[in-house]
Amino acid sequence: MSKAWRQRIHVLTSVFLVLLIGVFTMTPLYWIVNTSLKEPGTEFRIPLEYWPAKVSLQAYRDVLGPNFRIQDAIRNSVIVSSSVTVASLFFGSLAAYTIARLRFKYKIQSLMFMQVAGMMPAIITIAPTFVLIRSLGLLGKLPGLILPNIAYCIPVVSWLMAAYFAALPFELEDAGKMDGYTPFGVFWRVIMPLATPGLFSAGVIAFLGSWGEFMLALTIGMGVRTMQTVPVAILGFSRNFDLQWAWVSAGVVMSLAPIILLVVVFQRWVIRGLTAGAIKY
């Protein structure tokens, strides 16, 4: 077979593979977008319309209206996830710095302590956490969601940051000391600025992790509508308005758009971050 033919077959199979995987991953999203663009009520028309006969934004207007107010849920999720991201990046990086670069006897044990926590099923912690948040008077309030979620993000953040810190040259500490920095100054002024790409990956992963957290949000939210996060709100849509899938779909599209955008824009960092753990061993 000539080289040109091989080339052509490679291109053809590549296109085929991309189409195949694209159909697999995108079909559910396409169907939701399709449904969200139908006039509410017409999504039940048979035969099914694979593209709305008449594109309508009514479902979007409805979910932004007084009956749904998806924007409240999105705002709550943005508040929760950004606070959780900032706090868990800070505390997680502190711990990761000790594990990756400082002289300390119990590094492995500390890493284990954090990673084992991160692997635990939510169901084993949920009841006492509920009791704890209730006794703090934080049920149905956003801080009651933010505090536990910071803890939930620390294992993955410290894991990724430790991998990132460990890859930086160790001469940096000596140079920093020579420049007159205290040990903490070395961390804060020398190492942290160099770890910005690592902070990006860990940040996006923490943001998405807390954005999608469900069991705690369901339990602490106590059905208070004004403090629902996106996952709880969407579940409520599909439960309460079971028959109006145009509304549910519009809610799903609006709540997914920001995070899908985030992931596509930061794709390179996300993949690097996610694979860092797997590569280490």
């Binding site: 995108m26 300390f104 990673q115 009841a127 006492p128 803890a151 779909s249």
Partner: protein, 298 residues
Amino acid sequence: MRVHLSERRLAVLLLIPAAILLIVFYYYPIVQTLIFSVFDLDHTTDWLHAPFVGLGNYIEVLKSAQFWLSMRFTLYFTVVAVFLEFWLGLGMAMATFWVTPKLRGLLRTLIIIPWAIPQVIQASMWKWLFNADMGLIGDILVKLGIVSKGPLFLVDPALAVHSVIAAYIWKTSCVTAIFLMGGLAMVPQHLIDAAKMDGARAWMRFWKITLPLIKPTILVVLLFRVGDGLRVFDIVYGLTGGGPGTMTDTLSSFAYKFYFRFVQFGLGSAYAVVTFILVFSIALYYIRKVYPHFTFRG
């Protein structure tokens, strides 16, 4: 003011905030749940004033048919889901290395998007796709002439079990693919090229070179996927709520019902502890397998 700290003091100090958070929201609740599980907590969490029942809750749980049904479903779910997401994930990961460089970025984007979608929202999406009369999947099956009427994906017991798995692996096979991409990126190209020169066919190169080289990554990925399968909750809660009946209730979703629907914290905790033991043994195996390979300076 400048405070001078020795390196060791600083090390401890930097660990403290993370350690406190993890103790308060992981280790303390785990211990508390273990305590809950040996008390008779009917509509209360006040274990200090509740009757101590020892292993009574566990005996009651182990004797109930419900428990064994949810245990069976959880294990079946995990085995089937991990099997499917591994092979689908490996296929997608290898595809990203096979395709022409121009398409590689696009393919990665297509694979990473499902990863971003929260599991409960994924459940809502699939609930609509699985709608018997107006769902896309039933409609396609009818159009292909496979069935005459959209199947009751979430109502028929045998179908519901597999529908939950299908909805779950849509996202998790992409997650698996992303992790395996990291492992595949580590396979030195010169080894593949050398095998090509020796005339090894594509599938031989895969079995004899690629697969053995990414074995460590595969082990880690599989352990994490098994752990994730054993504790599955969100997709079940959102898609079927455990139904029809309790056919698709997992250990986690059953424990949750005991906690917040029946308000039986003792029994719920016993369910939760069983889930915990399963996942914890995976975690311990991971630690024993992987941690000896870690080295840190200092």
